[in-house]
């Protein structure tokens, strides 16, 4: 009877140490994972402020990628298009790529240049890709990510 009481009190309410150990290890791995420097992007993104000048100088259209850190489909676009060596090379050769990152959710507001571009191209969802000429005139727009093939079709719509 004494042994049963001992079981009830001590063993029935103990917390498995292995669970805490695994939780600490996985949490540590998560922290360490963030410390590892990410590989540089294959697409050579140009700052917003330099985009027009670069497009005029190189006589190329601008590819605006409107994105946000929290956006899941944006990560799929990144993985399937911008991390693809063939497509990344083509984007670098044929366009002036510009990434426009929305920070509304994190910071409460966006930089004026980001806000101005979002307003000009009526960006209502992420990701949105806009192809525009050096003067800013839009030629093609894709809202949401509809797959790699749709993106290639979009690129071919620019004269």
């Amino acid at each position: 009877m004494a042994q049963t009481d001992l079981w009830s009190r001590a063993s029935q309410r103990s917390i498995p140490i292995w669970l805490i150990v695994i939780a600490v290890v996985v949490f540590g791995a998560r922290i360490a994972s963030k410390q590892i420097a990410e590989e540089p992007s294959l697409v050579k993104w140009v700052p917003i402020e330099q985009a027009r000048a670069r497009a005029n100088a190189d006589n190329k259209p601008i590819l605006y990628d409107f994105t946000a850190a929290w956006c899941g489909p944006c990560r799929t676009l990144e993985h399937e298009v911008f991390d693809d060596p063939v497509l990344a090379k083509r984007i670098n050769e044929e366009f002036v790529p510009v990434r426009v990152v929305d920070r509304q959710r994190e910071d409460g507001e966006n930089a004026p240049s980001v806000q101005e571009l979002q307003h000009r191209y009526s960006v209502g969802a992420f990701p949105t890709v806009v192809l525009a000429d050096a003067s800013g005139e839009p030629h093609a727009k894709m809202e949401g990510f509809r797959g790699r093939e749709a993106f290639v079709e979009l690129m071919e719509r620019v004269p």
Binding site: T4, R13, V26
Partner: protein, 271 residues
């Protein structure tokens, strides 16, 4: 047979048990057996449920017909998360209300072991449904001669498994703190509240910038909760950050659930 009835009792030898160890020794072994018994019983109760079968067959038919299970914009992930919410709401809370927990914990089973085995049983049930749906998708692709992208399919399954693990762990945590089906209510309120709260704060920012600036910590808290508890899983590619986030948060939630459950007074009788 309820989970409680199927648990082995340390005070009496198990059928076929030829050992002559002390009752305390039996208790440890029975607790280990109980882990598997509870998983199996939880799984059995879920998969023989008519509503579960109908729901999973419907998702399976969609997977056969649409063929976009492993593609972007797939509806499978939200449908399986919804299934997780439906069967995960029964993890522990209702047993407080029905009074069965008193009976179950009269057995020499460790409380954390019991909670974790209920979680594992629920997960096995959801992952059984996931496997069924994946097979349906493969069959659908084979019938309609669409390409079989096995790697994509496996990555989709991995992401959904991580996502459902986090959902079940959160339901276990909320269930260990409350009664009845309040765990799923808390989950939904947090999910909707975080997004609605950010929207409301956005309006406040436009209408009353000064007040919004003073309260600027609120959206940060909402974003933190949203990012950590309801992180959007990638559909069909490997995302190390998401997998580690889901796994670590699920394990922390489970450890917290065990801690809360070990201290909890278990009421006698039903509500």
């Amino acid at each position: 047979m309820t989970v409680g009835e199927s648990l082995p009792d340390a005070r009496h030898p198990l059928p076929g048990d030829r050992s002559e160890s002390s009752s305390s020794g039996n208790g440890h072994r029975a607790s280990g057996n109980a882990f598997l018994v509870v998983i199996a019983e939880t799984w059995r109760r879920n998969v023989v449920n008519v509503a579960f079968i109908v729901y999973v067959v419907l998702i399976g038919l969609i997977a056969v017909g649409s063929g976009s299970f492993s593609g972007s914009g797939s509806a499978m992930q939200p449908l399986l998360v919804l299934l997780t919410l439906i069967i995960g709401c029964r993890i522990i809370g209702p047993e407080f209300s029905s009074g069965t927990l008193q009976l179950i914990l009269a057995k020499p089973i460790n409380r954390s072991t019991y909670l974790l085995s209920r979680v594992a049983g629920t997960l096995v049930s959801v992952w059984t449904a996931l496997l069924f749906v994946a097979v349906c998708n493969l069959i659908g692709r084979a019938i309609s001669d669409r390409p079989l992208r096995v790697e994509t399919l496996l990555l989709t399954m991995l992401n959904i498994m991580a996502d459902t693990l986090l959902v079940v762990a959160l339901l276990a945590l909320f269930g260990s703190l409350t009664r009845s089906y309040l765990n799923v209510a808390i989950y939904v309120v947090l999910l909707v509240g975080c997004n609605a709260g950010q929207g409301v704060f956005g309006m406040l920012r436009m209408a009353r910038p000064a007040i919004a600036k003073t309260l600027s910590f609120i959206p940060k808290i909402l974003v933190f909760i949203d990012d950590n508890l309801f992180a959007g899983a990638p559909i069909d590619h490997f995302d190390r950050d998401f997998l580690l986030l889901a796994a670590s948060n699920a394990l922390i939630a489970l450890a917290a659930a065990c801690f809360a459950f070990r201290r909890r007074e278990v009421p006698y009788g039903a509500d």
